[in-house]
């Protein structure tokens, strides 16, 4: 298949074969095909846009250097997801270590930011929900966060998640449940959550 016959909807195998044959355009098509999903996954993991931007670029640069050695044992998307999740988890670990060095971690102070939210208008509800959402996800440990995002937002099966994280299926299921439990526990501590929930 020549370059001009490839497009963003081409099969992953074709794009990879073209890339291995030397087609730079094939790699560009791979980037355009998966950039949004990878970015959103990473964004939900690390929350901050600038961090997500850096990690997204690094993921595709890593893909560029390693794609020639991809043998096709797993799905390409699983392979790409794995790179993205690992890079995100590594980033979070570095960030947590830095945060622990700079200040003491106190669980009771996790939702201090909610006290500052006083606007209860409809627009404020969306803004509040967004802020609460970010804060809630940030309370999760790295692995639980990854499982929750892949399961809830990307709708991946436990089998796929287990391949990506190289863990057991049962462990992934447990991770997902406990992630939801923890988020719910944290949300209940704030009355605003109750107000927002009622308006839903």
């Amino acid at each position: 298949m020549t370059d001009f016959e490839l497009n963003i909807n081409s099969d992953d195998e074709l794009l990879i074969a073209a890339f291995k044959a030397g087609s730079q355009n094939a790699f560009n098509l791979i980037v355009r095909k998966y950039q949004k999903r990878i970015y959103m996954l990473i964004r939900k993991m690390v929350i901050d846009h600038d961090d997500a931007d850096d990690i997204t670029q690094e993921v595709f640069i890593k893909l560029y250097s390693s794609l020639n050695s991809f043998r096709g044992d797993s799905k390409f998307f699983t392979y790409l997801y794995k790179i993205a999740v690992n890079y995100s988890i590594n980033h979070l670990n570095r960030k947590n270590k830095l945060a622990k060095r700079n200040s003491e971690f106190d669980e009771t102070n996790e939702f201090h930011s909610f006290d500052s939210i006083n606007d209860f208008s409809e627009n404020a509800d969306e803004k509040n929900r967004s802020e609460i959402l970010k804060e809630a996800i940030e309370t999760l440990p790295e692995q639980q966060r990854a499982v929750f995002i892949m399961r809830y937002y990307d709708n991946l099966s436990y089998e796929e998640i287990s391949k990506i994280l190289e863990k057991s299926v049962g462990g992934m299921k447990a991770n997902y449940f406990h992630a939801l439990k923890k988020i719910g526990t944290c949300l209940k501590k704030n009355k605003l959550f109750e107000n927002v929930l009622h308006k839903i």
Binding site: Q57, E126, S130, I132
Partner: protein, 298 residues
């Protein structure tokens, strides 16, 4: 029903609640077991309600989107990081290549220039006193080989120190003389006075220090030859004659066919002695010597 629920542990059933809420349980038996437990177990039911609330909150909440055009620029920025050279124009690529090469060219040129500077400086240092009495740079020495050919005939072999030197031919003497690079005037003069030779390479023009024979002899019909030239050097007037530069050559004939006497001019102190001795002669003798010199076209 209770038997069915025994196939699954309570923990496994509880962990299936989120999938049950979203209707994602593919196993129908598992789904039924969860439904049953929700209806019969109050604690299980509370867990079910809590998870429902949490999932409801997330359903209505959207994660913030990136800035506009972010995904249009992302592939370009990724390509720039992967292939920085391909993202610039040809001119800048050439400039980059040139600037990379410049890192090596500049130091190499610097080293070469410094080396040339030191080489040229050494070659242009300390001028050399030639046997014709002129100060020349070492670089000019190579051009004087013709003149040394005539000078060789003034060298008396019996004045050489070593036996080896005595057996030298005229051509060998000429060659050795041309090897003298840094003979200084004063050194040469002092060597003459001390009647010594510094090295075999350094052929010293050995003028006799004996009193001129003119005191006892008349220099009448004798032409100025190689044998009697020493006797004329004591005359003061000869000092001016002997003190010649390259442009004024003394043509002397003799057994060896001498045509030049540049060597006689290299010693300034002898001029004074010659002048003094010439003055000691009688006027008649002085005049005779001058006439002879004129006849020989000095």
């Amino acid at each position: 029903m209770e038997n069915l629920s025994k196939d699954y542990s309570r923990e496994e059933l509880m962990q299936s609640i989120p999938d049950f809420i979203n209707d994602k349980i593919s196993d129908s038996e598992l789904s039924n077991a969860v439904g049953k437990l929700i209806e019969t177990d109050s604690q299980f039911k509370n867990e079910y309600e809590e998870v429902s609330k949490t999932l409801s909150f997330f359903e209505k909440s959207e994660f913030p989107e990136p800035p506009d055009n972010y995904f249009n620029n992302l592939p370009v920025r990724i390509n720039e990081r992967i292939n920085p050279a391909s993202s610039v124009s040809e001119n800048s690529v050439m400039f980059q290549n040139f600037s990379k090469a410049w890192k090596y060219i500049v130091p190499a040129l610097t080293v070469i220039l410094i080396a040339l500077f030191f080489i040229l400086r050494q070659e242009n240092s300390d001028p050399v006193l030639t046997n014709s009495g002129n100060m020349q740079s070492p670089l000019q020495q190579t051009g004087n080989s013709d003149k040394t050919g005539g000078e060789k005939q003034f060298v008396k072999k019996e004045n050489l120190n070593t036996d080896q030197d005595k057996n030298l031919t005229d051509s060998e003497i000429s060659t050795q003389k041309s090897n003298v690079m840094t003979i200084k005037k004063k050194t040469n003069i002092s060597n003459y006075r001390n009647n010594e030779i510094n090295s075999p390479d350094q052929i010293r023009i050995d003028f006799t220090t004996e009193k001129p024979v003119m005191e006892n002899k008349k220099v009448s019909d004798n032409k100025l030859t190689y044998e009697n030239i020493d006797s004329y050097k004591s005359y003061p007037d000869f000092a001016d004659i002997f003190d010649l530069d390259e442009s004024n050559e003394i043509e002397v004939t003799g057994e060896t066919g001498i045509e030049e006497s540049d060597l006689l001019n290299s010693i300034e102190s002898d001029d004074v002695n010659l002048q003094n001795e010439f003055r000691d002669l009688s006027p008649a003798d002085q005049q005779e010597i001058l006439n002879i010199l004129k006849e020989t076209k000095i």
